[in-house]
Amino acid sequence: MKSKNVPGMNVDIGGIELKNPVMTASGTFGYGEEYNPYIDINRLGAFIVKGLSREPRSGSPPPRIIETAAGMLNAVGLQNIGVDAFIKEKLPYLSGFDVAVITNIFGETIDDYIRVAERLNGVPGIAGLEVNISCPNVKKGGIAFGDDPETAYEVTRKVKNVTDLPIIVKLTPNVTDITRIARVVEEAGADAVSLINTLKGMAVNVETMKPYLNNITGGLSGPAIKPVALRMVWEVTREVSIPVIGIGGIMNAHDALEFLIVGATAIQIGTANFINPRATMDVLEGIQHYMVENGISDIHDLIGTLTVE
């Protein structure tokens, strides 16, 4: 492909400049080394790191995953090496690429979130924070931060206060009205929102009469959730003015285009990587191809073009 024919793909996510709207979704792409043999990480719009917590976390006992119809459940339990080890051991590797590195963070208390955000502030090589508010709030009896508008507001506000980095708040779909949460986190200072995280689900082994996951329930991802994700992204883009990142069941360029058309400024690819390690590249090339075919020279002429009668 000659440069002069390449359509404009740059997008700005609340101050983070991306060369294209294709990102990896947190927790599905390791820390970069795993898929480096398969794709050219330099071609990604952004790389979102596996969720980081203040201290390292072991995660849940196995079984952690089970396949479902057009999807999978996972209960990895947010296993991660912790923010310090990330900075020391993983970031140097990721910094070697020409890609925006966005760190996904989470905690069990608001204080946890603040500490991780503080620790990452000023660290060279980090372009932004994605704040995962789908985690159970230990202090509030396990109700997720993102379930409750007030808590969502508080965590966003407090993280925003301790960082100079743009913050993307990642929303949970397990709520009655996701637009409400999106509005409050916008108000609290979020520079962008990303959605959706996984839907809470379950599967049972009828031979053993036990849940398939050691954790009983897990997060549903993959094409099964795409219709729900797309609907929520569409709803949210109409209610907030910050950029929206679409996530959920994107397997190919066609799926990604649906999200862009309903109004997402960028998209993340999660579970698809497991099926096709080149999924991010295929999506990127497919979007470019579609734009060329349809004479769209800039991605902004595609975003939010849904026609409703």
Binding site: F29, G30, E34, I39, R43, P62, R64, N74, R278
Partner: protein, 284 residues
């Protein structure tokens, strides 16, 4: 610029079935034409497979490499598998010339320390799949090099005589083949763990090594035996997988740790072959 990098990248390959048949009730051997770089694969490594062009089942399935043959017509990889659920049922209906999407070779294979003279392979059921490959590999190595392997004994167990898989290949590659069946239809009447225990005196902590693959209780049993005698043992572990490369952290296996926090490793990237004493065995 990006293109040149792209070309050198690994990818999922399309592999055509060149042969496929039922070797024993519910057990199939599939031979696939694969790119020549598969020749570098070592025993214990695995591949992730899906039927090409099918979206259901959703996730690829992991299988050990059972053999690799290189002819001038190309490289053929063998997958020996048991039909247990949806994915393997669909695989079992595939015919010659049907195509699969194959990712691999993946993971770390068995590792033969140079100082070991006596090798025991302990195989249960379809767990024999990587061990036949290993037996032939070690035999070739022994023939080719000055490596001091004195004997390879294979303990092969199955529920019944018909399900003693790869018997011929193992008899050829090993110094000795010991058989057990749960129903007594052939060899020792009992489990392969018991059979191995009965011969444990032949092995010592300073010249022997055990390579083991089979169902969980069997591997737990073998791990318990070798621990008692301090004999090194490598086991090929199984867990449900999604990515196969260490990205999803789905295939966790609990390993020993120094602190209080449990510690998990991934079967796909850190394994599937582990030192049996690193694993925290469920019943052990």
């Amino acid at each position: 610029m990006t293109n040149t990098i792209k070309e050198s990248k690994k990818s999922i390959v399309t592999a055509r079935i060149v042969d496929h048949y039922e070797v024993a009730r519910n057990h199939f051997l599939m031979s696939l034409k694969v790119p020549s770089y598969f020749q570098a694969a070592v025993p214990g490594q695995f591949v992730m497979m899906r039927v090409k062009g099918r979206e259901d089942p959703f996730l690829p399935r992991p299988f050990s490499i059972n053999f690799l043959n290189s002819h001038n017509t190309g490289t053929i990889m063998g997958i020996l598998y048991k039909v247990i659920g949806k994915g393997t049922t669909i695989f079992s209906r595939l015919k010659k010339d049907d195509e699969l999407s194959v990712m691999g070779p993946l993971g770390n294979g068995f590792n033969m320390p140079p100082d070991r003279k006596k090798i025991a392979l302990v195989a249960g059921g379809v767990g024999v799949a990587p061990l036949s490959f290993l037996a032939e590999y070690l035999k070739r190595q022994t023939n080719a090099s000055a490596q001091g392997i004195e004997e390879i004994v294979c303990f092969l167990g199955a529920s019944t005589s018909q399900l003693l898989l790869d018997r011929g290949r193992l008899a050829d590659a090993c110094s000795k083949l010991m058989i057990s069946t749960d129903d007594g239809s052939d060899g020792y009447h009992g489990t392969v763990t018991e059979l191995f225990q009965n011969h444990i005196d032949s092995y010592t902590d300073n010249d022997s090594i055990v390579f083991c693959c089979g169902p969980d209780p069997m591997m737990t049993g073998v791990a318990g035996i070798v621990k008692k005698y301090s004999i090194p043992c490598q086991v090929s572990m199984e867990e449900r997988m999604a990515c196969g490369v260490g990205a999803c952290l789905g295939c966790a296996v609990r390993v020993k740790s120094h602190g209080d926090r449990p510690r998990y490793m991934t079967v796909c990237k850190d394994g599937p072959v582990f030192d049996s004493k690193d694993i925290i065995w469920k019943q052990a």
